[in-house]
Subunit: 150 residues, 2 copies
């Protein structure tokens, strides 16, 4: 889903049985253009910077629809608001390292970890649908700035 032109995005939306409104196109275009993990308010703000005066309610409703259709991923960093990122072409799930100092988000994928998760589910006769895995800590840059050496 690397679509970036209005026409392509329109097509993508229709393929997912969503009406191709200008608001949704703007939203998808924004998320497709960045690797940032925006929250709803930031998305609202970014759209307004682009003269796309989408209402807050529409930001939330559109994000919900796009998440349902897996065109967008919803992330919960545990700080009380949800973040959103474009979903990746490959269906490859990735998880996140989150720096508690600077807020940077580092993505990673670890096959062995995914395998272990499946194994745990099997052990408990549990059918997994999704998972969230966030590791909080201090990133390399922040370690350099404020040596935690002690």
């Amino acid at each position: 889903m690397a679509a970036t032109t209005n026409h392509e995005l329109k097509k993508v939306l229709r393929e997912h049985e969503l009406k191709a409104t200008s608001q949704r196109i703007a939203l998808l275009k924004l998320l497709n253009s960045t690797n940032e993990h925006f929250d709803a308010e930031e998305i609202y703000f970014e759209l307004h910077k682009q003269q796309k005066n989408v209402s807050r309610a529409t930001v939330y409703r559109s994000l919900e629809a796009l998440v349902d259709q897996q065109l967008v991923s919803k992330l919960d960093f545990g700080d009380g608001r949800m973040r959103y990122e474009r979903s990746r072409e490959d269906d490859e799930h990735h998880d996140h390292l989150i720096c508690e100092q600077c807020g940077k988000v580092i993505e990673f994928f670890n096959l062995e970890m995914e395998a272990q998760q499946l194994s745990v589910c099997e052990d408990h006769d549990f059918i997994p649908s999704t998972h969230t895995m966030y590791i909080f800590g201090i990133c390399a840059e922040c370690q350099a700035l404020e040596p935690v050496g002690k």
Copy 2:
């Protein structure tokens, strides 16, 4: 931290540089007496059932203090409110399987998974402090009720 008497709890609180107020003692005692994952409102309600008329603000503030001192763990199941559980004696971290049908929470611990997490952190020169790992899906009982066979 298997303390359960008022005296023991008082000692535990003082060891963590927290004033041993009756509210905090009641709260700790409640969480130590169960394996439930209560949210703040449930805790507020449970305390009132026991004639401990702790205010909501105090429930939140005390929980925060206890979490800071690692006497209590805070869990984010992603449904808009935080849950709290007593922290475990052994430092053994456990993670959660959460049934999307009935809300049941199954705890698990997987050494290999923890090892993989450390390895990921090393790869990224990242110093981990905590992590959250929740697997959402359907538990065995709910599968039996509503066969997902399909």
